[in-house]
């Protein structure tokens, strides 16, 4: 009896270990890329280059955090690009007309409001999130075009760009903000509200039966995504030094790609903030590597597309292989 229990424990521990291993496909790919690029290109592994990767992916990484939370709950937000476009245009206008602090606060509020509108449309009106955010995304970017008129808006004061690109220990403030957002999103995903998103994405009916406030939790996820898009647009305003309404067109898909490459399920219920961070890092490293390897910029997009597919395919195979093992080992621990 005692030995049987001990044996069952061993099986159980093995199942848990396998469960961890099955998530390691993409981190493994990331390390492979870093090692390869490190050996083939002298500049890749330098601190300056690594910081530049980090600061170039910072805005989209921030957007990807919100997107990951939404994807886990089984929803999408395609309007983050529109929020970005509206953010940079309206943000630069407000900064030019009042001051930097008011502009930044306005952008945060704008993000919250846009997120709340999406959340309202999805949870209260009941529109599918893909459709609702497609619509609102068009509206935000349309408004951005109207506000901008024919010419891009240029920031008169340099306060915001100086602050965002200020690098106290070689690391820019924009990267620090991104790290703060990642940490916040990580902790959010571990709270009761965060776990509720997993439950909603896995089995909405089960979540409802268990008294999870499905609508409130989904609404909050949209608000958070909007907020993060607002924060990302603050950084982008600073990077550009003004506002152009074309900003953000690639945000939604790139954020979804980052999350999905990392292993967040497009159908909801599976994935983690950590996975989205790894996915984002992979995309950033590949983009940077392609530049360093002097690959034609038009070809870079093609390569990026291939990488996304390869990463997801590896991840799927890994999960299948180890998933079967987890189940069989798990069942073995149940046998008496």
């Amino acid at each position: 009896m005692a030995t049987e229990i001990a044996e069952a424990r061993v099986h159980l521990r093995r199942a848990t270990l396998l469960q961890y291993i099955q998530r390691l496909a993409v981190p493994f790919l990331l390390i492979m890329f870093i090692v390869y690029l490190g050996f083939s290109n002298a500049t890749f592994i330098t601190p300056a280059n690594l910081v530049s990767i980090a600061s170039s992916i910072a805005p989209i990484a921030i957007v990807a955090m919100g997107m990951a939370l939404l994807l886990i709950s089984g929803n999408f937000d395609l309007s983050v690009g529109g929020v970005g476009a509206l953010g940079v245009v309206a943000g630069s206008l407000v900064i030019n007309h009042t001051n930097t602090l008011v502009g930044v606060l306005m952008l945060i509020v704008m993000g919250l409001v846009c997120g709340a509108i999406n959340g309202f449309l999805v949870t209260v009106v009941g529109i599918n999130s893909l459709v609702a955010t497609l619509g609102t995304g068009y509206i935000w970017s349309g408004v951005a075009y109207v506000l901008a008129g024919s010419s891009p808006i240029i920031l008169k004061s340099n306060a915001l760009p100086n602050f965002i690109t200020f690098a106290p220990a070689g690391v820019q403030v924009s990267v620090l903000i991104a790290v703060a957002v990642i940490v916040a999103a990580y902790f959010y995903s571990r709270t009761v509200m965060g776990y509720s998103l997993y439950a909603i994405g896995s089995n909405k009916e089960a979540a409802k039966l268990a008294g999870i406030p499905v609508r409130t939790a989904t609404f909050l996820a949209f608000v958070l995504t909007g907020l993060f898009a607002g924060v990302a647009s603050i950084i982008t305003v600073a990077y550009i030094g003004g506002g152009v309404p074309e900003t953000g067109t690639e945000w939604p898909l790139e954020a979804i790609a980052a999350a999905v490459v990392g292993g967040v399920s497009i159908t909801g219920g599976e994935g983690s903030i950590w996975a989205a961070v790894v996915g984002m890092a992979l995309i950033g490293v590949v983009q940077n590597g392609l530049v360093l390897l002097n690959i034609n910029s038009n070809l870079q997009t093609v390569v990026l597309g291939i990488i996304i597919i390869v990463a997801v395919a590896t991840d799927v195979r890994f999960r299948q292989r180890f998933g079967e093992m987890v189940t069989s080992v798990g069942q073995k621990s149940l046998k008496e």
């Binding site: 069952a8 159980l12 199942a15 848990t16 902790f187 959010y188 571990r190 709270t191 009761v192 509200m193 965060g194 776990y195 509720s196 439950a199 896995s202 089995n203 009916e205 089960a206 979540a207 409802k208 039966l209 268990a210 008294g211 999870i212 406030p213 219920g269 599976e270 987890v326 189940t327 069989s328 080992v329 798990g330 069942q331 073995k332 621990s333 149940l334 046998k335 008496e336």
Partner: protein, 529 residues
């Protein structure tokens, strides 16, 4: 001629019946060590019905999957009309003439009954326009073999579970099979429907010379319809009865569980538990109206288990869902002197909990046991604090011990057998807190007799002062076994209330059936919601 073939020739005609299928040393091992089937031998003759019995996880479904080409055996031989065959795909099985009605019905919810039946057929060309007329004609032809079949033009998603199962049976018959495997096909039918269906099976077996493997949890069904029974336990054949030998209920239960179990006169495992004296009423429901259901009024007393009996679509489930806060309603629901308001979230805080036998609706299968136990307890904490994994693990291991669940808190709940999953659902519900109002929606659906009687015992034992239970079921025996009082539902209303000493399966069935017939329920097909 190999040895096995010569054996087959010898046994080709046994008792005047032609041998259709012979399974020799069938073994299926899931790597690395899970033995689903070990050296199982079985023969099926033309036109006979054989019951395949076993607890959840005994290997019945694995055998069915091997015969239909969904799984390949690790080793073993299949002889079909004397020739060895390798069933490598579901298509190969169909071509041989083996059809199955699965426990998990793979019907397409957005298609109509006729479309579901016709969709995979050869004479429906995949690239030509789908002929609805042809499909419906075909459907109607096959549907005549099944009692009160659903109409051909109704979408499957609007059907009750029982109706879906009928469609699945009709779909299986369309291929003109020689061997039909029914895998729990009738587990959620009511007694009358099951009885009618079994008569159909017997007619098919006799007239069309169809052989049937009837995989079921209902031992009395097996005793009634089949000529032989085969009992599996842990992947091994532990009992096989001959066509002429009489076998008793107790023998089968013993073979199923591997231990002696006492049974009562009706042949059901008795439940230890004293009938409780009537306490004071704790739940008062008055003029409850939900959509087309109601008005319904009833009371539940302290420490009492009240049964709701009726056919699917009688409205009892809607009443339970309304009390749980899942459906909007008009009327008053007073629980311990307090009007219940709001959604599930608010009612769960008052320990009003809804448990359903539809496990896919209640469990998150990719989560471990402890998180599934924790899910209804999430919002007992504040929303923005980390999930208390430790606490949920403690609760889960308590539930596992108390309800003797085979599993560990960190085991993925999908790896547990159906009966154990159901015990997690019910156990977790029972332990949510006191005072407790447990609303059970067919909580023993599709699980084996042993798990079922264990759940019944748990329910009886927990009926203390601070607990009230309402149980809905289409199974009259469940009412007999656990309920102190029964309300019979038909057409969205309570038609009669039966005290403990008047609850018998015959009475329940008779009342529900006559009342439903009178009001035309059965004619239109009995529809959920």
């Amino acid at each position: 001629m190999t040895m096995q073939e010569s054996q087959w020739v010898e046994s080709k005609f046994v008792g005047g019946m032609e041998l259709l299928l012979k399974i020799v040393d069938m073994t299926k091992i899931y790597p690395p060590h899970l033995e689903a089937l070990v050296d199982v031998n079985l023969v099926i003759h033309t036109g006979e019905i054989v019951a395949l019995l076993g607890a959840n996880g005994a290997g019945k479904s694995t055998l069915a999957k091997i015969l239909t080409g969904a799984e390949m055996p690790t080793r073993g031989h299949i002889y079909w009309r004397g020739k060895e065959v390798h069933i490598t795909s579901t298509r190969a099985a169909t071509e041989l003439g083996i059809a199955i009605v699965f426990q998990e019905l793979n019907l397409l919810p957005d298609l109509t009954a006729a479309e579901n039946v016709a969709i995979g057929l050869r004479n429906m060309h995949p690239f030509l326009l789908f002929s609805r007329k042809k499909a419906e004609a075909l459907y109607n032809e096959m549907a005549s073999l099944v009692p009160s079949p659903p109409k051909p033009d109704i979408k499957v998603k609007w059907m009750s579970v029982a109706e879906r199962q009928k469609v699945a049976v009709i779909r299986a018959l369309v291929h003109n099979p020689k061997l039909l495997i029914i895998d729990e096909g009738t587990s959620s039918w009511n007694l009358g429907e099951r009885y009618e269906f079994q008569q159909v099976l017997q007619r098919l077996a006799k007239q069309k010379k169809l052989s049937i493997i009837y995989i079921t949890h209902f031992i009395d069904d097996a005793l009634r319809v089949t000529s032989r029974a085969v009992v599996l336990r842990d992947g091994r054949k532990v009992l096989e009865t001959g066509p002429d030998s009489n076998y008793a209920y107790d023998d089968i239960v013993t073979a199923l569980s591997g231990t002696e179990q006492r049974t009562n006169v009706e042949g059901f495992v008795t439940v230890a538990g004293k009938p409780r004296p009537n306490g004071k009423p704790v739940l008062k429901v008055e003029n409850l109206m939900i959509g087309g259901v109601g008005p319904v009024s009833f009371t539940v007393n302290e420490g009492e288990c009240v049964g709701f009996y009726g056919y699917p679509g009688c409205g009892a489930v809607e009443v339970l869902e309304a009390i749980a806060g899942l459906k909007p309603y008009k009327g008053s629901v007073i629980w311990r002197g307090e009007q219940l308001r709001g959604g599930v979230y608010k009612r769960l805080r008052k320990n009003v909990i809804f448990c359903t036998g539809d496990r896919g609706r209640q469990l998150i299968t990719r989560w471990p046991v402890y998180l599934n136990v924790g899910l209804p307890r999430f919002f007992r904490n504040r929303p923005f604090v980390p999930v208390k994994h430790r606490m949920f693990e403690h609760i889960a291991s308590y539930v596992i011990q108390k309800f003797r669940i085979k599993g560990y808190p960190r085991t993925n709940i999908g790896a547990l057998s159906g009966g154990n999953q159901q015990k997690v659902v019910v156990g977790s519900g029972i332990e949510i807190g006191r005072p407790l109002l447990l609303l059970g929606d067919d909580i023993t659906r599709g699980i084996d007799v042993i798990a079922r009687s264990e759940i019944h015992q748990l329910l009886r034992q927990m009926l203390e002062d601070e607990v009230a239970v309402i149980l809905w079921s289409t199974d009259p025996n469940e009412m007999v076994e656990v309920c102190d009082r029964v309300y019979i539902f038909a057409q969205g209303r309570v038609i009669i209330e039966l005290p403990r000493d008047e609850i018998t399966a015959e009475r329940l069935e008779y009342v529900a059936r006559t009342r439903s017939l009178k009001q035309g329920v059965l004619k239109n097909g009995d529809r959920d919601s």
